[in-house]
Amino acid sequence: MSEGMRVRMRVDGAEIAADVDRPGESLLTSLRDRLGLTGSKNACEQGECGSCTVLLDGLPVCACLVATAQCEGREVKTVVGAVPRPVRDAFVACGAVQCGFCTPGLLVSVADLLDREPDPDDALIREALAGNLCRCTGYEKIIEAVHVAAEAMSDGVPRVPARSHLHHNQWINVTTFPRGDAETGEDTP
């Protein structure tokens, strides 16, 4: 073990000191394991999934690829401090959150995108979020949520998204598909 060092930084508005005993320790490890700030997620530690995305002096970075030692005197914003309320509301309302493991990183990336580009089109959204993997949603509702958030932020009016797809919500036919002998299971509590 090398000699410890103390790194002072501002995390989500609070002055924080992290005592790091390895020069290579990542910002993600310091936040999660040393400081107990588990909002940023670890899904790869290789800069591939974006689950650990935070803003470092306003720029989105993968916290797993940044050494804590580089963060002296700098400002770190995680999902806790980086994301405007309408963005979070839009993710909830649109169903853009399933397991939610990708969500903290995605929210930070979306906050950064909307800061640069208040009304992004689909192509811009896809480009901006290309570094954030989500295994659950297929991304469709994430794109919808970004549009809903952009609208809400432009006029301050929160929205409930319209159902975006074709639905055939009626009873077309009653079908058992398939049914064998109507034999019920043995019941034991």
Binding site: R32, D33, T38, G39, S40, K41, A43, C44, E45, Q46, E48, C49, T78, V79, V80, R88, F91, V92, C94, G95, V97, Q98, C99, G100, F101, P104, R126, E127, L129, A130, L133, C134, R135, C136, T137, G138, Y139, E140, K141, R163, H165, L166, H167, H168, N169, W171, I172, N173, V174, T175, T176, P178, R179, G180, E183, T184, G185, E186, D187, P189
Partner: protein
């Protein structure tokens, strides 16, 4: 993790001053009830970074656990020297097979997997020793310090050779009619290959074990089935099941990867050995080695059809590679065999399906479970038949589509609607109310001479949705190659293809499949509050939300709470096989109905009401060992996909530009969550079609990282248009049909069919790789 609470919808006036709210007469629409899309109870925590996933757990004084895994797919173990690891400062325990307190093996269906390897390793990544240390770094260093003396052996990696040598977990034939002598006007015989897909949930395997001080242990873990974990763990730990308390930790996706044990036994052993809480968390590379995968498959199919395209016979030889241990291969083989021809009528069938035992990574559950592999093969065959006969691909499917009255190849008849109620039993004195069958809509029964075919109906619907036009001016980013800026459109060809998937819902083949729910109803501030307690895993699908919706509909209450999922209530079964809405949804509905009946005769001011119900679907039968016949499935669900792709035929790059889907869901319980399931399932099918494969060479995994194992990004996914059909199943709660898996079946063959349409290549293997498109063009 914190007890999930649900946001309170706007309160309705609940009785006047001095009166107590009375039980509703029956279920009634509620603003946040069944059929609506309220916000998830846990959504707020998830968007605030406050939701505790298993990897976020922390306990005071906890140690970190780590696993030493075999680098060899096959080797004898002559000796394990743990002394150098134990000598490191900060190391508290190093355990091997010799330290397993009880039974040495566990498994979901057969207990054949060693807790820790004893004398032999059978796949690369098999756990050999476990370490508890002050920090994860120290534990990893300790793992490196352990000296294992391996006697490396030649691995058996060819599944067909393994089958030939009698090494298989299951052989399941299906025989129908006279397949040997059946004659056909057109015959298509091809061999198909499916690569090994990984579930790749973003949340890594993780959990913590906490000694309870009385020799027992509490496990906080992200799993799909708490009670099955407990059943497997207890004998290995040599503890009575009631000494082990299993508590669900937040789950970052599952898709089958959390069916089998991972960290459970290891962290429990370390906690019991050290007397301290122990946390384990796999990194991504270890995650790829530490859970089962989707079975790779080799499938030789022969389809014979008459000149009108009607199937005469199907023969198939299906070999699924189960890898080194049994896991759920047994059930995967059963699904592959019974669903081997898909939703089509055929009189003569000869299917032989094997689950091979090799030294490849163990394979087990992944979304689609045995249905995905054969769906790619039979749908490719249907397209090849259509091409040979000059038929439209939708038309050939329509001509063969099963309808009411059709017989599936396991002999099961798709029968007329049945009023049979699901079986429900309870633990209080109130007799259960019979479940009323869903009302038949006007005109449902037979004016039409042809029996109703849900599939033909869905095919007609997808035909009506226009195929997206090729835009006049396209951005370079929209073309295959995207940001790589590899083309201006020259060499880019458009293709359209279709896929139909048929998936069984719930557990099949005679398994005693049930779920349990407990509902407590009490007054708080004069208002009724319902608390739901189940062991059902919220893997991201929205099941917690669904439970609250059912309770609001059945009890008319606004305030609903979810007790933490644990083993202090009966089993819910697994969040798999698209079964949880049906099964735990059914149990919650039954418990709510029982609570409502109790409430009718009581004033809540006199004390809380509690009702527990166990819900079972109708019994199924095993498949006959020789003919495969047997009423083996409970419910089947259908999905139809159309894919539109652009292919750069010079570079072999594929861009999926549109995925349109028609799915029959029985009842859209929560439209928002349902759409999310279809989107996500479709995305995983796209992954298998064009990018996802865990590559093994002589049993060694070559790409255990997100750098080398690619899953679809937002740039890979096209817009997905959904057309949701609700053909109610009167036997299922609210008429619902399991929805999570079917789209994973149908999207893969649809995309490959579209690539064939664009390129003219035969393409019999998934994932399709660029080199498959740029070499070996057909003559």
């Amino acid at each position: 993790m914190p007890e999930p609470t649900t946001p309170t919808p706007p309160r309705r006036a609940a009785g006047g001053v001095g009166t107590h709210p009375a039980a509703p007469a029956g279920p009634r629409p509620h603003a946040a009830g069944v059929g609506t899309s309220p916000a998830r109870p846990e959504a707020e925590a998830k968007v605030n970074g406050a939701f505790d996933y298993a990897s976020d757990l922390h306990f005071d004084g906890m140690l970190w656990g780590h696993t030493l895994r075999s680098p060899h797919p096959s080797a004898g173990i002559r000796a394990v020297d743990t002394a150098p690891a134990l000598a490191l400062p900060g190391v508290h325990a190093v355990l091997t097979a010799a330290d397993v307190p009880g039974k040495l093996h566990y498994g979901l269906i057969d207990a054949d997997q060693p807790v820790l390897a004893a004398g032999e390793v059978r796949y690369q990544g098999e756990p050999v020793a476990i370490i508890a240390a002050d920090t994860l770094d120290t534990a990893r260093l300790a793992a490196e310090a352990i000296r294992v003396d391996y006697e490396v052996r030649e691995p058996q990696c060819d599944p067909q050779a393994a089958v030939d040598a009698g090494n298989h977990f299951r052989y399941q034939p299906v025989r129908l009619g006279e397949p040997v002598t059946a004659e056909a006007a057109v015959i298509i015989a091809r061999e198909y290959t499916v690569g090994m897909q990984d579930q790749a949930p973003l949340g890594p395997e993780s959990g913590a074990a906490v000694p309870t001080g009385d020799g027992g242990v509490r496990l906080h873990v992200a799993t799909q089935w708490l009670h099955s974990d407990l059943e497997q763990l207890a004998p290995c730990l040599d503890l009575e099941p009631d000494r082990i308390h299993m508590v669900m930790a937040g789950i970052g996706g599952a898709f089958g990867a959390r069916e089998d044990l991972s960290v459970q036994a290891h962290m429990a052993m370390l906690a019991l050995a050290t007397g301290r809480p122990v946390k384990m968390m796999y990194d991504r590379a270890e995650s790829f080695l530490g859970h089962v995968h989707r079975h790779p498959a080799r499938m030789r199919y022969e389809h014979g059809a008459d000149e009108h395209g009607r199937l005469v016979y199907v023969k198939a030889h299906i070999v699924l590679d189960g890898g080194a241990y049994a896991s759920t291969t047994d059930a995967v083989v059963g699904n592959a065999a019974s669903l081997a021809v898909g939703p089509y009528e055929v009189e003569h069938v000869a299917i032989d399906a094997w689950g091979a035992r090799t030294n490849n990574p163990p394979c087990g559950a992944m979304r689609g479970f045995g249905g995905v592999q054969t769906c790619f093969a039979y749908e490719s065959q249907m397209d090849a038949l259509a091409e040979a006969l000059g038929l439209d691909p939708l038309e050939i499917r329509r001509r063969n589509a099963v309808a009411q009255g059709s017989r599936l190849i396991n002999g099961q008849i798709i029968d007329a609607p049945s009023p049979a109620a699901p079986a429900v039993v309870g633990s209080d004195a109130v007799p259960q109310a019979g479940t009323a069958p869903s009302p038949a809509p006007p005109g449902a029964a037979g004016a039409d001479a042809r029996p109703f075919s849900p599939l033909a109906d869905m095919i007609d619907r997808i035909r009506e949705i226009p195929v997206p036009a090729i835009p006049a001016a396209r951005d370079i980013l929209d073309l295959p190659g995207g940001t790589g800026n590899t083309t201006h459109g020259e060499g880019v060809r458009r293709g359209v293809g279709y896929g139909v998937g048929l998936k069984n819902v719930c557990y099949s083949e005679g398994f005693d499949d049930y779920s349990t729910a407990r509902i407590r109803l009490e007054l708080e501030d004069g208002e009724p509050v319902a608390t739901i307690h189940t062991a059902a895993a919220e893997v991201g699908q929205g099941h917690w939300n669904l439970q609250t919706q059912i309770v609001r509909t059945e009890l008319g209450v606004d305030r609903v709470r979810l007790a933490p999922n644990d083993t202090k209530v009966g089993s819910a079964g697994s969040s798999s096989a698209s079964r949880q809405s049906y099964m735990t949804g059914g149990a919650v509905k039954a418990a709510a109905e029982a609570a409502r009946a109790l409430w009718t005769d009581r004033d809540l001011a006199d004390g809380p009401i509690e009702a527990t119900r166990v819900f079972r679907h109708r019994a199924t039968k095993p498949m006959d060992a020789i003919t495969g016949q047997g009423d083996s499935h409970v419910q089947l669900a259908l999905c139809v996909h159309r894919a539109t792709v652009d292919v750069d035929v010079e570079l072999g790059l594929v861009k999926v530009v549109d995925l349109t889907c028609v799915q029959d869901v029985g009842k859209a319980m929560n439209p928002n969550a349902l759409e999310g399931q279809i989107h996500g399932g479709t995305a995983q099918g796209l992954g298998l079609a064009v990018m996802e494969e865990l590559v093994t060479v002589r049993g060694e995994v070559k790409n255990a990282s997100f750098t080398d194992y690619l899953i679809p990004t937002i740039l890979d996914m096209p817009p997905m248009r959904l057309h949701i059909v609700e053909n109610a199943d009167p036997e299922a709660p609210y008429g619902l049909r399991g929805a999570g898996e079917p789209p994973t079946l149908s999207s893969t063959p649809a995309i490959v069919a579209a690539i064939r349409d664009a390129t003219g290549l035969a393409l019999t293997r998934v994932p399709v790789r660029p080199e498959h498109l740029t070499t070996g063009r057909p003559s």
